[in-house]
């Protein structure tokens, strides 16, 4: 187990380095940088740019140095927890991102929870009642969930929630709570607003998880040990929960890794539509205005989260499933 753990951690390091190189390349690909766009914008509106300040910032963040030095500078900062400086907000990235990260985290976490809670019973039911009408209906519903663009679902749900339930449009809380310290009322308001983005973001993930769980459980249900247990007269429910379900659960755990990028992706677009104060709209703006430290550091942070997520799910899987643990040990 320990060797597996060490092996797994060692793999993460080159992965993260590669990711950081890719991100740095991407944010540096567009011609020009934030400052050149900024100066051009100011000049076109006839204002004088504060060239001294810009020159200072450029020197401060090493824009005059070769790219590889800029990269090392950026990564070095990241290692110290310094995510750079957002030029558009005139604030360190940490401060820009801070509050939004918490909300992003809340939304993502609730979505994953929602996915599990919904997918689990439906998947089990579909598998145990294969080809029944409910199964067909649920399958169709799942496919529909996969096929509907989330942003439109968000709009429609938002509209109906407003018309029938009187929930304020946009945002993650009622307007009077914005920029207020956390209180019980604020938390309640967030909870009332949270369900729409959670449903919208979670739909696609839930649908695919239902399908996977159903397929896995169906495979298990046909195996001989199930037939034996049934022949011996074990109670159907006990049989289901004690053996095949435990086998079919692996994807539930290994999916945390692949679910996380999905949730973050979904959250990015849905929050743009619903103008949630999460990180999606910020990233979009940052990409558009070439606010490279904000965009880059934030992308890096999301990738980091995902890598950690995969790592955690791998560990959990190894703990739960001795086959994986032992195989990985043998491979070395």
């Amino acid at each position: 187990m320990l060797s597996y753990l060490v092996h797994r951690v060692l793999i993460m390091i080159p992965t993260l380095i590669a990711i950081s190189i890719v991100i740095f390349t991407i944010i540096n690909l567009p011609p020009g940088d934030y400052f050149s766009t900024y100066i051009a914008e100011l000049q076109s509106s006839g204002e004088a740019a504060d060239l001294a300040k810009i020159a200072f910032l450029k020197a401060q963040y090493g824009f005059d140095r070769p790219l590889w030095q800029q990269y090392l500078f950026w990564v070095g900062g990241l290692l110290h927890g310094d995510m750079g400086y957002s030029f558009a907000y005139n604030l360190p990235v940490n401060q820009v991102v801070g509050d939004r990260l918490l909300l992003t985290f809340i939304v993502s976490f609730t979505t994953i929870l929602f996915t599990y809670v919904v997918a689990f019973p439906i998947g089990v039911y579909s598998a145990t009642h294969q080809y029944s009408w409910t199964d067909h209906a649920l399958t169709l519903l799942g496919f529909l969930g996969l096929a509907t663009p989330s942003f439109l679902l968000a709009l429609v749900l938002l509209y109906f929630a407003n018309v029938y339930l009187g929930i304020s449009i946009g945002g993650l809380m009622d307007p009077q709570y914005v920029d207020r310290p956390w209180s019980f009322g604020k938390a309640l308001s967030v909870a009332a607003h949270l369900w729409i983005p959670v449903i919208v973001i979670g739909t696609a993930g839930t649908a695919s998880m239902i399908r996977r769980l159903r397929a896995n459980l169906l495979d298990e249900l046909q195996k001989q040990y199930v037939v034996t247990a049934r022949a011996k007269g074990l109670h159907p429910l006990k049989l289901l929960f004690k053996y095949p379900l435990r086998m079919a659960l692996n994807p539930f755990i290994s999916d945390i890794g692949s679910l996380l990028p999905h949730v973050i992706s979904g959250a990015a677009i849905v929050s743009v539509v619903m103008s949630l104060p999460t990180t999606g709209p910020m990233l979009l703006d940052a990409l558009r205005s070439q606010d490279m430290y904000l965009a880059g550091s934030f992308l890096m942070f999301m990738a980091f989260l995902t890598v950690i997520g995969v790592f955690v799910s791998d560990i959990a899987l190894a703990v739960l499933d001795p086959r994986i643990r032992l195989q990985a040990g043998r491979r070395q």
Binding site: A18, P30, L144, Y159, I169, P261, I264, A268, I269, L284
Partner: protein, 405 residues
């Protein structure tokens, strides 16, 4: 053996045998009828058709039994054939503006008039501007009966930008209107725009998959065949790409595309971006299959005969699971269509004058649309149908891909 002993069971032979006395040894007998050692294995033509069917034929047989998949396939075929004839199918041209009919709701096709079945027609609109809340009000006017014409000559277009034409499947009555899906903020007929948008939306998925397919087979093939360091390197690379949230990565990449690019370049760029990320799943599948298959005897035989790796992979290894690859590629298309829709919706993908379903949905970006002009969301119905059809078809194909099962 049985054939040899009893083959000559003719009356003459039997007479010979019965005339001999019981004690006498039987005369040495050789049948002169033609001998076919494979006669037991011979099959009727019907059996032959079944047992000797090629793999693809069996895939087709199995797929045919999957009713939903066949239906979805038919829907897809219709959609893809229709993009060849957009100009003919659309009642209006892509950019034809009807400035008197801005945000006009869809017209209902009526076939009953006073309880009698008649030629399909629509009611023309009476327009009034509500000065209190500046709302455009369109009321169908039963006095303005406008029969729909079929296979008719109306506005001119250039078919594929090459030939002049003016034949349409549906056209409005001369002087009348035909907005079966309503109009947008510039008074453009939405149905026509959806039909034209299909050209972009549907091809972008196909081209994207073509890119992923090539990359996936190439990279996965190399990793699986050579193994060792190449394999480890490719595996890590795939892990890196997969650990990115797709949409932000797509957003970042498409933000790179210069604004000055022509629409066609942007289209190609978006296709490449969509294709560049999705290949990893295919590459993984190809790799794991190849790792197992390269140990097979037929592969060793090919190596011994001096075949080069490219030929072994392409000619001997890939065909043995090509049907699986195609099935998984089919299942990748819906993701790309949705990806394009999302990107264009955010304004990072295709931009007008390019018209795709995502670009059309870009107009449905705020909540007013849901409240006031819900028909602007209609393109999403086409997105859903297409994606559903691809999913069902791909599922059926995946089940059929292993016909020996």
């Amino acid at each position: 053996m049985t054939d040899l002993l009893f083959a000559g069971d003719s009356p003459r032979d039997r007479a010979d045998v019965s005339s001999a006395k019981p004690a006498d040894p039987l005369p040495h007998y050789i049948s002169d009828s033609p001998f076919d050692p494979y006669s037991v294995e011979s099959m009727t033509p019907a059996q032959e058709r079944f047992y000797l069917a090629s793999e693809w034929r069996m895939v087709w047989w199995k797929l045919r039994r999957h009713r939903i998949a066949v239906l979805s396939g038919a829907v897809l075929l219709t959609l893809y054939v229709s993009i060849l004839f957009c100009e003919f199918l659309a009642p209006y041209e892509l950019d034809a503006r009807n400035t008197d009919f801005i945000y006009a709701p869809p017209q209902r096709v009526r076939i009953f008039d006073n309880g009698r079945l008649v030629w399909p027609f629509v009611y023309g609109y009476d327009y009034r501007l509500d000065m209190n809340n500046l709302e455009r009000l369109y009321t169908p006017n039963p006095d303005k009966r406008q029969p729909i014409r079929f296979f008719c000559h109306s506005s001119k277009y250039r078919f594929w930008g090459l030939f002049e034409g003016d034949l349409h499947l549906l056209c409005p009555t001369p002087g009348g209107q035909l907005f079966l899906a309503g109009t947008d903020r510039l008074g453009r007929d939405l149905l026509s725009r959806i039909i034209y948008g299909a050209r972009i939306s549907l091809t972008i998925g196909l081209l994207g998959v073509a890119v992923s397919f090539t990359l996936g087979v190439l990279i996965g093939g190399i990793a699986g065949y050579y193994g060792g360091w190449t394999d480890i390197l490719v595996q890590r690379g795939i892990e890196v790409i997969q650990s990115f949230p797709h949409l932000p990565l797509w957003m970042a990449l498409s933000a790179i595309l210069p604004v000055s690019w022509s629409p066609i370049l942007v289209y190609i760029g978006i296709t490449l971006i969509l294709g560049m990320i999705e290949w990893t799943h295919l590459a993984r599948a190809v790799r794991s299959k190849l790792l197992a298959l390269r140990e097979e005897d037929f592969c060793t035989a090919a190596v011994l005969m001096g075949a080069r790796p490219a030929r072994i992979i392409g000619r001997h290894l890939l065909p043995s699971f090509m049907s699986h690859l195609i099935a998984s590629a089919t299942l990748m298309i819906p993701g790309m269509i949705l990806g394009e829709t999302a990107l264009s919706f955010l304004g990072l993908g295709l931009r007008p004058p390019m018209t795709s379903w995502g670009v059309l949905l870009n107009e449905a970006q705020n909540i007013n649309v849901v409240a006031l002009y819900p028909w602007l969301m209609l393109p999403v119905a086409f997105v859903i149908v297409t994606v559903l059809a691809f999913n069902f078809f791909g599922d059926g194909l995946r089940d059929a891909a292993d016909p020996y099962h």
